[in-house]
Amino acid sequence: MRSRRPFFRRQKSCPFSGPNAPKIDYKDVKLLQRFVSERGKIVPRRITAVSSKKQRELARAIKRARNLALMPFVLD
C-alpha cells in the first residue's frame, strides 16, 4: 500500500446505482446538499462519480429544489 503509484485512481462507482441506492427527489434536500459545492453550485460528475443519466436527473432535482427555495441559487 505504501509504495503505491502517485497517480493511482481508485475505481469509483455511482452513488445512485446498486440495490439500496437513494432515489433522487427534489424534496430530499439533505441528499441533494451532498452534490452541491460550498457556493451552492452543482458539483461536476467527474468529482462525485455519478453516472451521466443520474447526473441529469440530479441536476433537474437540484434546480427544482432551488425554484421552491429549498436550496439556494448562490451561497456566500
Binding site: 427527489d25 424534496k27 439533505k30 459545492s37 458539483v43 425554484n67 421552491l68 427555495a69 436550496m71 439556494p72
Partner: protein, 144 residues
Amino acid sequence: MSYYESVFIARPDITAAQVESLTETFKGIVSENGGTATKDEYWGLKSLAYKIKKNRKGHYTMINLEAPPAAISELERNMRLNEDILRFMTIKVDALEEEPSVMMRNKGSRDDRGRRDDRGRRDDRAPRQEASPQEEKPSEGGDE
C-alpha cells in the same frame, strides 16, 4: 389522467388553519374539473433559502393529484391569482407516493450529523486534483 405533485408556498403571516383552508380550496378546484387529490401534506413554516417577495419564511404544502390537464391549468391559474401564494410548482410524476414524503419523515429528527461529515469530505475533495499520499494514509492505515 396523469399524476401530478403540486407544491405551493404561502405567505408566512397567515395561520396554519388558513393554509389548511387554501389547500381545501385548491383540492375543490381540482375535483370540480374532474380530478382527484389523493394526498396532501403540510410541511410547516419553513425558512426559505432566499427571499421571495420580501419574505424569509413560508408555509409549504404539497398536494398529490390525479387529474386531467385542464384541471391543472385551472389550479395554476388560481394559484397565480391568489395573493397569499408566494410560489408554486406542479410537476408530472410517474407514480404518486402513498407513504409520507421525505419532508415529513425528516421533520422529527433534525440532526446535522450527516450533513456535517459530508461537508468535511467535500472540502478536501473539491479543490484537489489528485489525492496526496499523506491524506490517504490515516483513512487506509487499517489494511496494512
